[in-house]
Symmetry: C2
């Protein structure tokens, strides 16, 4: 310990001893919220809870606890659920609503959870998983050679891996099949989804302006994988019909540009369109429909305000509001202002919640909710309903189970998979 | 009853008798939410409730019940509260947290509550009320001569009145001192506030595009009072230093243009700036700082999407997203997407909630919350926190009491004034 922290501790101790009991009004002069606003964990009871949503749907929420920062979830053909936990290179199995205490090993070493919302492993089954047992995973791999020694931050890059899973507690033959050139030391995510064309789509977030690895403009740089949606063959190679194949200065894997930090990437079950959710800066979470070759504008256009953390960086939030639109750049389908900390999503197609059919269900972390979004026949948003705010859980991802129920992961250290079913009738 | 509804009823009856009990999944095929989404009243218990906000402030909410759609509230010098109720030409007194069962009479006849969020009487005390007992009120006066006989809608206009109130149960000498040329048959509001310059500011909403009286473009028409902030002398006459006095084609009362439907109009307690909240169309509630002579853009620019009610008007929501910005038009200070149904507001300056000091507390109707907005020293928004969503009450207006507590009106038929105090410490 150096002399300065020691002296500071002593001073604090002396103050604590000598100062008269300060009135509450005085203590709170420096708002505690600026550091932990919306980060405080709220207790989630073990028992099922019945909740009536604003639109009158009564749901029963049953937590499946025992998970640490559960991240992605997917369903195996037999109905069991595989769940990843942020910062762990194991997967967890949930069968009939019960968490298997024994994890599934075999993933490569992954980044431990960093401060912030991301850094989990995403998982996706091969479309013919039932036959070939192939599972894909996307993760952040540490690049020790690029370690930032000055600020002791761990630099890492997004990687796509493939393994075989034939049940039990181990993934076999896990190996990287695509390593991006993205570099970041911030809480950036990567997600994957198989398209109806049999290609694997991978979104890689872009590093923030305040990070020491990577640059804010990477998302507009066609030679960088950061801030892009990529399109890959199932072996990790480049499909020759990708929009920028052969174009000078472009990485051929690029499918779309100008992405900030994406936590949701799915295909619409009816239209086959690729939908993406994306964290905005202060104000401006986005839902995008991703088209081949299109540019989604980050960081040149945004509905949010550029910002830096005033406590972390010693600077006030930037006063610059970038423009909302620019020629040749796509507008989001929908925006959240203020942000909900937009997470993963699913289009609900089941029979358990008729009112929700065709709606998008999206996780909200800072917003501690599932946001239900309804659309009209033109595909325009008509209604949004914040659901399950009562639970005060940071909702990371939302998926529909083969049983037509809805499952969500909570981004909490004492985390859970929430099983959301219609509440039993009361008399 | 004509033949068609009768036949429809019979068909429904027959269906009810003949059809097998439909599974729940079938019944909900036509989503009920499209007509009453967020309108369903939720029961508010009589007893005080302790609630912890997301940022960790524990509040005790005590409902003062017995009010029908309480609207505006103001505090008398003796600490008693005057509350208006939408559609009633009486005021109510609350003293020491107890509602006086006897109303205060003397207001002119006002429009009865119309469907939708507005049409209440606003009230404001003269800055020297303690000496002169003068009280102002803004309301919608029926214009029978403009009654739309075709659709049986009641056309009305915004009027400013003045009376004396010396305690007891009657306002005396009530008379109109300014009658606008606004005309609407929609749920449009008008609000008033005294400025530090001793002038009375009055905002009048603009009629919607689907209404039969008034036009959507009234807000941009300088010969109309609709969709404007007006600035008046305390006797209702025009101050000669108003920005458009003497300008051809402009009503001299106009202070600012391009306003949609405003439910909040206050002066910042430190800076003396005029702040306004404004309902956006689908997506795009606004907080504005109103400057003399400025144009706030409605309906030419907006963050919301123009819309019509698909069930009421038989048309799908318009697909047109007007531009967000235009040269010579002001941008909002902050936007809510999705809307919260933005209501009245107050800057909190009291000692009861140190964390909230300097924050804006804003009512949310569709959003059923008090939205707390924090600002940095540059006056830019830094944080928003939805508070009291647990109560599921449509919050119309929020005011700080002379006791440093916060009081809010609920836009409910079984409505209340909510008294919000720090929750007692628990051990």
């Amino acid at each position: 310990m150096t002399g300065r922290p020691a002296r500071a501790c002593l001073t604090l101790l002396l103050l604590a001893v000598l100062a008269p009991a300060a009135p509450v009004a005085q203590q709170a002069q420096v708002p505690p919220e600026e550091t932990n606003f919306n980060r405080k964990p709220f207790f989630l009871p073990d028992a099922p809870q019945d909740i009536q949503t604003l639109s009158g749907v009564r749901v029963r929420v049953t937590p499946i606890k025992g998970l640490r920062y559960p991240w992605a979830l997917t369903f195996l053909p037999d109905g069991a659920m595989l769940v990843s936990e942020a910062g762990r290179n194991t997967l967890r199995l949930i069968r009939n609503g019960v968490l298997d205490p024994k994890p599934v090993a075999g993933l490569p070493k992954v980044m431990d959870r960093v401060t912030g919302p991301s850094a989990g492993v995403d998982i996706a089954l091969h479309p013919r998983f039932a036959e070939n047992g192939i599972i894909y995973y996307a993760y952040w791999k540490v690049k020790p050679e690029e370690q930032d020694k000055q600020v002791q931050r761990t630099v890492r890059t997004a990687v796509l891996g493939r393994a075989r899973y034939e049940g039990g507690y181990v993934l076999e033959d896990a190996r990287d099949i695509f390593t991006s050139n993205a570099a970041t030391d911030g809480p950036v995510a990567t997600r994957i989804a198989f398209g109806p064309d049999g290609k694997l789509y991978m979104v890689i977030g872009s590093p923030g302006a305040t990070q020491s690895a990577g640059k804010g403009m990477d998302a507009q740089d066609p030679s960088m994988h950061a801030g892009k949606v990529l399109r890959l063959n199932e072996d990790g190679s480049v499909p020759q019909d990708n929009p920028f194949v052969g174009k000078q200065g472009y990485r051929p894997e690029i499918y779309a540009l100008g992405i900030r930090n994406s936590i949701g990437l799915i295909f619409h079950p009816q239209t086959g369109e690729l939908w993406e959710t994306e964290h905005g800066p202060y104000g401006g979470d986005e839902i995008n429909r991703i088209k081949a070759g299109a540019n989604y504008g980050w960081p040149l256009i945004t509905f949010g305000r550029s910002y830096v953390n005033p406590l972390q960086d010693g600077l006030p939030p930037a006063s610059v509001q970038p423009p909302n639109a620019a020629p040749g750049m796509e507008q989001p389908l929908a925006v959240y202002i203020p942000v909900i900390g937009i997470g993963g999503m699913t289009f609900y197609t089941g029979n358990q919640f008729p009112l929700w059919r065709g709606n998008l269900l999206i996780g909200g972390m800072a917003g501690r909710q599932i946001s239900r979004v309804a659309f009209n026949r033109q595909g325009l948003e008509t209604r949004r309903e914040p659901m399950l705010t009562e639970l005060r859980q940071r909702i990371r991802d939302v998926r529909q189970g083969p049983d037509g129920l809805v499952y969500a992961t909570t981004d909490e250290e004492d985390g859970a998979v929430l099983k959301i079913a219609p509440a039993p009738e009361t008399n």
